[in-house]
């Protein structure tokens, strides 16, 4: 089952890992060092990120490096723009609906 990417990026540690990897490839050890939590715990977070395609592990000989996958992250951001447009259209429609409602009754004593 492909892991839910929104679930993956909801975690603050995983967001920090992604931030570390932006614009640079880091040795796995270098990523682990950034956190106070245990190595297995960091590895688990990285595994979750690789499972949804946000991070790639690149093997060079015995060394393992982590790199972020920018395309995937952009995909994740794009729903927001589409949803915004969807709501903007709906709110336009709400405005039109409100505009065609009959005006409230005026107070006859003032006319």
């Amino acid at each position: 089952m492909r892991r839910d990417v929104f679930q993956a990026i909801a975690d603050p540690t995983r967001r920090k890992i992604l931030t570390l990897l932006l614009g640079q490839t880091l040795h796995l050890n270098a990523v682990v060092e950034q956190f106070a939590i245990s190595r297995p715990a960091v590895s688990k977070h990285i595994k979750i990120l690789t499972e949804c395609g946000l991070v790639n592990i690149v093997q060079k000989g015995r060394e393992r490096y982590c790199e972020a996958q920018p395309g995937r992250l952009r995909e994740v951001a794009s729903w927001l723009e589409q949803y915004r447009q969807h709501w903007e259209q709906k709110l336009d429609s709400l405005e039109h609906y409100l505009a065609q409602l009959p005006p409230p009754p005026t107070d006859d004593a003032n006319s």
Binding site: D4, L73, Q82, W87, L91, L94, E95, L98
Partner: protein, 176 residues
């Protein structure tokens, strides 16, 4: 690394505000009453099918939008908190004819559920300031959705740094 424009200081992902030319109770009714909601929610020129409408915390609005190609796109609102006349919170998701929670029926990466919070503020006697905040929820796909007033506490919203991550990314890419 170049400096970047920080995301807005709130945790929400999306913020839309509108000033509407109607008093607040009228705007609230446009969300609260079935016929009124159906009048503006559907796509233009196509009838909106309302399968279920129960405007209360824990209730649901289940709708089908007829698309030009003849298909129907189902969606729903699962209402969380409702405070007349100033607040309406619900989870919007794609759905199917039976009213279940489904993934987006089209290409692209979409969250399973989107938390929507409307607040309505009076702007004089004749206008309403409508604010919409949206965040993606990280509920796992096979979680059963049982909606009651407490459910909003059970789900962690995403503290939106997607925008800032993408900006950082694009700045970093342009340096190479």
């Amino acid at each position: 690394m170049n400096p970047f424009t920080p995301s807005p200081p709130t945790a929400e992902e999306l913020l839309i505000t509108r000033t509407l030319n109607a008093p607040r109770p009228v705007v609230f009714r446009a969300f609260a009453e079935r016929e009124r909601l159906a009048a503006w929610w559907g796509p233009k020129g196509f009838p909106l099918e309302v399968r279920h409408f129960d405007f209360r915390p824990g209730g649901r609005f289940h709708y089908g939008m007829h698309l030009p190609d003849g298909s129907i796109m189902w969606g729903k609102f699962d209402y969380l908190e409702i405070e007349e006349p100033q607040k309406i919170g619900f989870i919007n998701s794609f759905s199917d004819e039976a009213g279940g929670t489904t993934r987006a029926p089209f290409e692209g990466t979409w969250p399973l559920e989107m938390l929507n919070e409307f607040t309505l503020a009076e702007a004089g006697d004749t206008q309403t300031l409508l604010t919409l905040r949206v965040k993606a929820l990280n509920a796992s796909p096979d979680e059963q959705a049982t909606f009651n007033e407490g459910v909003a506490d059970m789900r962690e919203g995403f503290n939106g740094t997607i925008d800032s991550l993408v900006e950082l990314l694009e700045k970093a890419a342009s340096n190479h």
